[in-house]
């Protein structure tokens, strides 16, 4: 199979996020980036498919801080080829990113009859929409999102899509197709740092030159801001033992102790 995984860097929300002075973007000074979590699952799903059916896994990313580490990590995990598009992801809305990536896949021979494009189902900054359906629309390929399992056979993929309340459904789709991966069938694999370092020494990241988008952002964003602390929790403070005592009181008040 010809498997592509689209990797995107997002701010690590474990860190504090601040809005820059223009009120239009995040303050990049202290931002730490990490691979968008569903994309990590998309990579794992691609590696599982390769192990089962053979083929190649190509990881593709726009330029972003720390993206080289992520691409080398993907190679160390079993990816065959890494491609970086030297257009900064920062400042691009999902629609513009999808346009750039659609141009990458429009290259002759990029999409073969046994191709699956595997972006993450969504990302925490998808204000303009999700990459997977936008890419599918641009390339006129079938799309299913919120995918949590993929089996391939005879030019088709049988996929599991999540609904709500634990309900899922099986869909069948002919390849080539775009599947927005929510979670892989197994947790993303761990790769030792030594193996990543080895990949950094032995492997290379290919570059694909593409035209930057005309309209980086489609939406008229009036402002970004932090939520106001209205309706904020009553904070319980003190040493663990004091906090525990107070929480027991709360639990007693609600008649569960």
């Amino acid at each position: 199979m010809n498997l592509y995984v689209l990797l995107k860097m997002v701010p690590d929300t474990v860190e504090e996020l601040n809005v820059s002075a223009d009120g239009q973007s995040l303050d990049s000074e202290f931002l730490r980036f990490k691979l968008s979590e569903p994309d990590d699952h998309a990579l794992e799903q691609a590696l599982l498919l390769k192990e089962k059916h053979g083929g190649t896994v190509t990881v593709v990313a726009l330029d972003a801080p720390e993206v080289d580490d992520v691409l080398f990590t993907a190679l160390a995990k079993g990816g065959d080829r890494a491609v970086k598009i030297p257009i900064a992801q920062a400042g691009l809305g999902t629609a513009a990113s999808a346009g750039v990536l659609a141009a990458f896949f429009a290259a002759p021979g990029a999409i073969t009859p046994d191709t699956l494009l595997l972006p993450g189902s969504q990302a925490i900054d998808d204000l303009e929409g999700e990459l997977a359906p936008l890419l599918a629309a641009a390339l006129n390929l079938p799309y299913v999102g919120v995918v949590c399992g993929v089996q391939a056979a005879d030019g088709k993929a049988t996929i599991l899509k999540e609904f709500a309340g634990g309900l899922r459904a099986e869909f069948e789709v002919a390849l080539p197709a775009v599947l927005g991966i929510q979670s892989a069938e197994k947790p993303p694999r761990y790769v030792p740092v030594a193996k990543v370092r080895a990949a950094m020494k032995s492997a290379t990241i290919d570059t694909a030159e593409l035209a930057p988008p005309d309209r980086p952002v489609q939406l008229d964003i009036a402002r970004l801001y932090k939520p106001e602390a209205a309706g904020r929790a009553e904070m319980v403070e003190g040493a663990p033992a004091d906090v525990a005592d107070k929480l027991v009181d709360v639990l007693a008040k609600h008649s569960v102790v």
Binding site: T94, Y143, A164, E170, E172, L219, A241, V257
Partner: protein, 324 residues
């Protein structure tokens, strides 16, 4: 903003989902503020009997075609585009749910209308439509203006009250004949929810664990607490994805919606996908090392601290209190 507002009714297994009524309520408020009519779009072969329940809309447009039953986003978006053209709708509301995911993006790609995702509030003031969205797991909000009130808005479940979109009256229904292409992804079968040992939707007390629990072994600390409280352990997505707890214990967008008397959110940041599933708990107690975690904006009680440190102490204190 004179063009109609069109709400895409969401249905699962022949039932209208709450998000449908939440959007109709939000749409009605916008219709009153702007003077635009409020329409509902209902797709699929089972549309007719459901249309009668959409009395909050001024009119319901149905496309009754079997290809639209459990259709993938592309097929739904194409039909919806047909209804947008037919009704001259300017604003389309659809659910920010697993069922509808991707439809808005596809419709945006085909119609040229801008999409605003993750929306929690919509206002229409002085001729301007503003959508407030939750980004970065709820840590940042954004206000987006839609020129002439034209666009597609993907609305978070739970952002608007259900009751405001329920109305006893029977709405006029127009059946629209559209050519519907055969879907490129074909529904095969449902895979029923895994039935676990406990039904977390029926518990009075839930001990919810998130990423902050750190390892599978530590889940036992939460089990100990749940046991002494006579409740059960549940989890946010990252814990389930790691395989530390079964799927039947997942709370949130893909998992269960729970309404216990007490919900302890331990090491859970409170991303919208999780919040959606437990926001209606009567009492929410949150413990997180990050004082800026969004969970503290909605919880009733909050503790900034390490769950691993607090859990054993809390369990012992409850034991002691029960013994007295």
């Amino acid at each position: 903003m004179a063009n109609p507002i069109l709400v895409l009714a969401e249905q699962v297994r022949g039932e209208l989902a709450d998000i449908t009524f939440e959007m109709l309520g939000a749409g009605r408020a916008l219709a009153i503020a702007s003077g635009a009519p409020l329409y509902a779009a209902l797709l699929g072969s089972e549309a007719a009997p459901l249309a009668a329940k959409l009395g909050a809309a001024d009119k319901v447009f149905t496309v009754e075609h079997p290809h639209l039953d459990l259709a993938p986003a592309g097929t739904v978006a194409a039909a919806l585009k047909g209804l947008v053209d037919h009704t001259q709708a300017g604003l389309v509301l659809l659910g920010c749910t697993n069922v509808s995911l991707g439809i808005g993006s596809m419709l945006a790609a085909h119609s040229g209308l801008p999409l605003v995702n993750f929306c929690r509030a919509i206002t229409f003031q002085a001729g301007t439509l503003t959508c407030t969205s939750q980004l970065f797991g709820g840590k940042i909000l954004s206000d987006v203006k839609l020129a002439d009130g034209r666009g597609i808005v993907s609305v978070y479940p739970g952002a608007f009250p259900v009751d405001a979109g329920k109305h006893d009256g029977t709405p006029p229904v127009e059946k629209v004949d559209l050519a519907v292409e055969a879907p490129k992804a074909v529904f095969k079968r449902y895979v029923e929810p895994e039935t676990g040992d406990v039904d977390i939707t029926k518990q009075d007390v839930l001990v919810g664990v998130g990423r902050g629990i750190q390892t599978q072994d530590n889940v036992q600390l939460a089990e100990d607490l749940a046991q002494i409280l006579g409740g059960a352990v549940c989890a946010s997505r990252p814990v389930i994805d790691q395989g530390w707890l079964p799927l039947s214990r997942q709370v949130g967008k893909s998992g269960m919606t729970v309404k216990p008397r007490v919900y302890l959110a331990l090491g859970i940041s409170g991303a919208p996908e999780h919040w959606e599933g437990m926001q209606n708990a009567q009492c929410i107690i949150a413990v997180n090392t990050d004082p800026k975690a969004p969970i503290f904006d909605g919880a009733h009680y909050g503790v900034v601290g390490d769950v691993l440190e607090l859990l054993p102490v809390l369990t012992e204190k409850i034991k002691a209190r029960k013994a007295t």
